[in-house]
Each structure stands twice: as C-alpha cells, then as structure tokens.
C-alpha cells in the first residue's frame, strides 16, 4: 500500500475519486487542465469556458489546496495560509478581514497580499504572470508595499558580491586565490541534484517580507491597476475591463479599508454598498480560475451586529477577524514575557468562515483560539494560550 502526500498534485488517468458516502467538500476545480485533483468531476459550467491561456499553468505562486486540490494563492503570510485550511486562498474566493479597534493590522495583510503578487510577477521578466487591482486607493499606497525579507546572511552575501564586482587590485588577486582554493576543495563543482530535491516544491509560493522596508521598484501600471470608487457602478465596469485585458494572468484584487469615511463617500446607502459587494462576487465567479479578492473592513465603524456587515459576510467566502488585545491583557503579557519579548502577541485572530468548507456546511467558527503577532518579517498566527504569571517572583517582590 502506498501513500501519497496530500499537497501533491494528483494527475493521470489512474486518478480516481475518493469513496465518499455523501456530497461534501468538492475536490478539484473543473476547467483546470494541469492542476487536477483526485475525484474531480467536470462541470458543464466551466468546462465549456475557454481562456486563451490557462493562467495557472506553471504559475510560481499557485499550488493545489491540501484539502481539495483547488488552486490556491498565498495571502502573504504562511500562517494565515495555514489557518485558511487550504494552505492558501483558493482562486475564485473572497476573503474578508475584519478588525476591531484603532489599529490597522488588516492593512499590513493587504500589503503582504499585494506584495506577494508583485514579487511573483517579477520572477520572469519576459512573461508576466500576475496582475493586481487596487480598489479605492491610489498608486501612493502601492508605493508602500513591503520589500522581500533578506536575512543577515543574504545581506552579507550581497555586500560581498557588491564589493567583488568593483574592479580593484585586491579583488583581482583574491579572484586568483579563490580559484586555487576552490579547486583544492572542489567548491567550483556544480551542485548535485540531490541538493535540488531538498528544495521546497513551491519555492516562490510564499515569499517572506520585511514590513519595515519598501519594495525598491514600486509597482507600475502594467502590474497594478488602481480603480477609484467615486462611482461604484463605474468601478465594477472598470474592474471587469481590467480582468478582460489580462486573460492569461492570475489577478489579485484588494479592497483595503472598505467603507472607511476617509476613502468612501458618506452618502453611500446600504443597498448601494451591497450591490457593489455583490457585483464584486459576480465578477469573481465569472472568472473563477483567475481572480481572488481580499477585502478589509473596520468593525468599529461597522460592527458585526450591523445587518450590512452580516450581509457582506454572507456574500464573502471566508471571514477572519483581528481583535487586538485590550490594554490590560497587553500589559500582562509584557509583564509575563519580560525576558521573552518574542512571545508577546498583539491580539486574537477569530475565524468566522473558511472558503469551500463553510459553503459545504461545516461550522468553522473559532473564537479566541488563535492569537496573532505582526512581526517585522512575519505575520505570525499561533494557538492562543493564556499567559501565566510566575507567583514566586511576585512573592519575592512582596517580601522585599
């Protein structure tokens, strides 16, 4: 009996559907030729739709879901990818990120989501594979996208390479010595294939970013289209036009700070807002092999008890909530983890629904079970555990 890794692409004529007693989580996305999942059933809806070139074919930023082999893209944080359940956001899905409080962690996730696409798009200069649509904000916001994280080793290497590239007498002498040493220790030999096999199957799927840095070359109009929201109906038309102009690319669509009065007109009525969100979903489902949407909304402005937010949640495929800790809990964490500042978290991450799973009827609500930390190089998500104060230390202090 042989076992196959769940994340591996299952293909070929021998691939058979799994014996499942009832209709459950659909496995595999129809109309997708190369990335085929087990038990995939062709649907007449998408099978007839022909795209000029499959955008998912050999895309470095696409991998199959570990649950149903549906193609997924990284949100920008590997931890959030894991939380979503598929190891990424399934293409054709709508992820809503809600945030309470005056913090703006959701914008960090939006930027990571967009930066991921830009980096993947620049992997092969001759053939662009990703396009981005930014709704409501302009190029100025896009200029603040974070740059790829470089570890200290990589930075040192870069510095050495820069120095070596300069023409100087010492460099010329060193080059000769290097060659001798390299010959002696066999360093110039080409790396063996065994080393290649250890490389991750999807090396460019989820790049790490340094949020304190800025992408050195800001995304241009050929990579990112900014769509103003002065007229919501016109915005929807422009979004669709942009999608049609990029038929062979994966498109990451982002709506940061949705309904924030700084960006959106105050006069928008609830039906107008719902029509716009429903319109976004229409476009998303019209191009299910190409588009993914991330939207962020502040719950202080529009709480979850508001019917409008409930409707938006119903229209979306996945809902995550960022709830920063209250000051007392934050103080406690700072006190408890005085010597281990890395353990201090910033808030709870609540799950309200997950793509495909919630749609199938699974109850995905998980509140106060995860915590998040917005680190310099990672947006970390971990299982939440209540910090415990060391009583001995406290007593000692009292005695003193």
């Amino acid at each position: 009996m042989s076992f196959r890794k769940r994340g591996e692409i299952v293909s070929g004529p021998s691939a058979r559907s799994l014996p499942i007693s009832g209709p459950g989580i659909p496995r595999g996305l129809p109309g997708r030729a190369p990335v085929v999942g087990a038990g995939r059933v062709p649907s007449p809806l998408t099978a007839t739709r022909k795209t000029p070139e499959n955008p998912l074919k050999n895309h470095p930023g696409v991998r199959p879901s570990i649950l149903n082999s549906q193609p997924c893209i990284s949100v920008g944080s590997s931890d959030i990818d894991g939380i979503i359940g598929h190891q990424g956001l399934p293409i054709g899905s709508f992820l809503l990120i809600e945030e309470t409080g005056t913090t703006d962690f959701a914008s960090t996730i939006s930027k990571l989501f967009m930066a991921q696409g830009i980096v993947q798009n620049r992997l092969n200069q001759s053939q662009q594979n990703t396009h981005e649509i930014l709704i409501g904000l302009d190029q100025q916001w896009a200029k603040t996208l974070p740059g790829v994280y470089k570890g200290s080793k990589e930075k040192k290497k870069e510095r050495v390479q820069q120095n070596e590239s300069k023409v100087s007498v010492s460099n010329l002498v060193d080059q000769k010595n290097d060659l001798k040493i390299a010959w002696r220790y066999g360093l110039n030999q080409k790396k063996t294939e065994t080393e290649d096999s250890s490389v991750d199957q999807y090396p460019n799927y989820s790049n790490q970013f340094d949020i304190t840095s800025v992408m050195t070359v800001a995304p241009g109009p050929n990579e990112l289209t900014c769509i103003p929201i002065d007229d919501l109906n016109r915005a929807l038309k422009r979004i669709e036009e942009t999608v049609m102009r990029n038929p062979s690319k994966v498109i990451r669509m982002c709506v940061p700070l949705f309904l924030n009065p700084m960006i959106y007109q105050n006069g928008l009525s609830a039906p107008e807002i719902l029509k716009f969100v429903h319109g976004l979903k229409q476009i998303l489902k019209k191009y299910p092999d190409q588009l993914a949407l991330l939207m962020t909304i502040n719950l202080d402005l529009y709480p979850r008890s508001n019917a409008l937010v409930t409707y938006i949640e119903q229209i979306s495929d996945a809902v995550l909530e960022l709830r920063p800790f209250n000051p007392k809990l934050h103080e406690l964490m700072e006190r408890v983890y005085k010597s281990q500042p890395a353990k201090i978290k910033h808030g709870h991450l609540n799950i309200h629904s997950l793509p495909v799973l919630a749609e199938s009827g699974l109850m995905c609500v998980q509140e106060m079970e995860y915590s998040f930390k917005n680190g310099r190089k990672r947006f970390e998500v971990e299982k939440w555990s209540i910090p415990v104060e060391d009583e001995e230390e406290k007593e000692e202090k009292l005695d003193f």
Partner: protein
C-alpha cells in the same frame, strides 16, 4: 462492524408518512422555509432535498426508501455559484437531466420571468420542486419591496412546491423605527414568510459553542399554514465533516 456513532445515526424524516419532500399534487403546493445561520450553511441539506426530489433517495439515510419518486427540480441562488451545487450533485449517482439551475448570481434583473419560464418548461414532466436561495437579496439588489416580492413568490408557489432558503442571523432579526433599515426589512420579510409557510427547517450552531463531534442543530417544525401531509416535528443534531459525510442524531 458498526461503531457506536453509527448505531445512534438517524434517518432524515420530515413528514409523518416518513417522506422527506412533500408529495407533488395538482391541488396543493407547499411552501417550505429553510432558515440558516452564517455559521451553518444549508448546502448539504438542500442537496439531500434535491436528491430526494429527483430520485426518491437520500444520501443521509441508511434505510432504503420504499416510495421512489421523480420530481423535476429547479434550483436558483443569488449567492452560491452553480459549480458549488453541481459538484455536490455530481457525487450522487443518477441522471441530472431533470435538474435545472437558474443562475441568479450573475443576473437577477429578470429573476421572476426566468424562474417562471423554467417552471413552465418542466411542468410538462410533472410539477417541479423549486429551491430559491437568498431571495431576500432581491430586496436590496433590486428596488423590490417586501410585499411585491412576497406576491411574486406566491405566484411561483401557485405553480409548484417552493423551498425558500433564507438566513436568520441574530443581527438580521431586529425591528427598528427606521423603515429603510436592512434588519427591519429582513425581519419583516421573514415574519411574513413564516406566516405563509407549511414547513420550517432551521439550521443553527450549538448554543454552547463549537464542538468537534456536532456541527449544529436541525429543527423541523410545521409552519403556520396547515398542510395535508402532517409534519413530524423533530430536532436533530448533525455532523458535517471534512470528508463530506453527514450524520444525523436525535436531540
């Protein structure tokens, strides 16, 4: 060998005569209201009802069904893509020729005409069972008023058994003095629907929070309009797992 959870597993029964969907009759048309919460979506239940209408079987049940029937089905949704239901139904062994999907997610402007045309077309083979998901969206996406929408639904119900699938989250059930308030409109729509329905099926998560072995509760109760077929009022606990199996247990 069956496990203890298998032994407790129950079959879905909606009416006292052990049937699941109401019998098709030229004289009487049922209005069924399926209510759900955002955390407990009803796709699995709708699939079971569609299967029972089309083939007389039900994938939730272990015991075979004695009465085999075949009623054409029209399914329309304003929120779920066709591919979702197609994928679910493709797992059922059977010919889906008598299953028609009306895509209201992409185009809802002529929803009434589209549904009516589909019902009339299928009526030659027998009175269809029509499932309409999230009809309340029409109140906000188009300029339809609650009473107009109810009247249109009543017209459809005159031709077929109608299953309306609507959400009843707490935040949507609140009256206020503002007439244009979303929650007020939604509550008014649902209340009026309840007063016209023969059967209510409700899905909601456990009040005690998330559990590993239970997804939620399914409540079956009769509506405010009496019907020829008597409803077997029951409460089930149900479990939907990642593998796609669904199990029902008595509450």
């Amino acid at each position: 060998m069956s496990s203890s959870s298998d032994l407790q597993q129950q079959d879905l029964v909606v009416f006292e005569d052990h049937s699941i969907v109401p019998r098709s009759s030229s004289e009487y048309h049922y209005l069924t209201l399926i209510l759900f919460n955002s955390a407990t979506r009803p796709t699995w239940l709708v699939t079971a009802l569609v299967e029972n209408s089309l083939f007389g079987t039900c994938y939730l049940n272990k015991s075979p069904i004695s009465r085999r029937s075949s009623t054409p089905v029209v399914l329309a949704s304003l929120n779920t893509a066709e591919s979702t239901y197609r994928k679910q139904l493709a797992r059922l062994k059977g010919d889906l020729a008598e299953f028609k999907y009306v895509d209201l997610l992409s185009n809802y402007s002529n929803w009434f005409e589209m549904l009516s045309a589909q019902i009339d077309q299928l009526a030659k083979k027998g009175k269809p069972n029509v499932f309409l998901e999230n009809p309340e969206f029409l109140l906000f996406l188009s300029d339809t008023k609650v009473d107009t929408l109810l009247l249109q639904l009543q017209k459809l119900n005159a031709k077929c058994n109608l299953f309306l699938i609507s959400s009843n989250d707490e935040s949507l059930l609140e009256y206020s003095e503002i007439p244009d308030d979303l929650a007020t409109i939604h509550t008014s729509f649902l209340t009026k629907l309840v007063h016209r329905s023969n059967l209510l099926m409700s899905l909601r998560p456990l009040k005690t929070g998330r559990a590993v072995d239970v997804t939620g509760e399914l409540t079956i109760c009769r509506g405010l309009i009496d019907s020829p077929q008597k409803v077997a009022e029951k409460e089930y606990l149900y479990l939907v797992n990642k593998e796609g199996t669904v199990k029902l247990f008595y509450r």
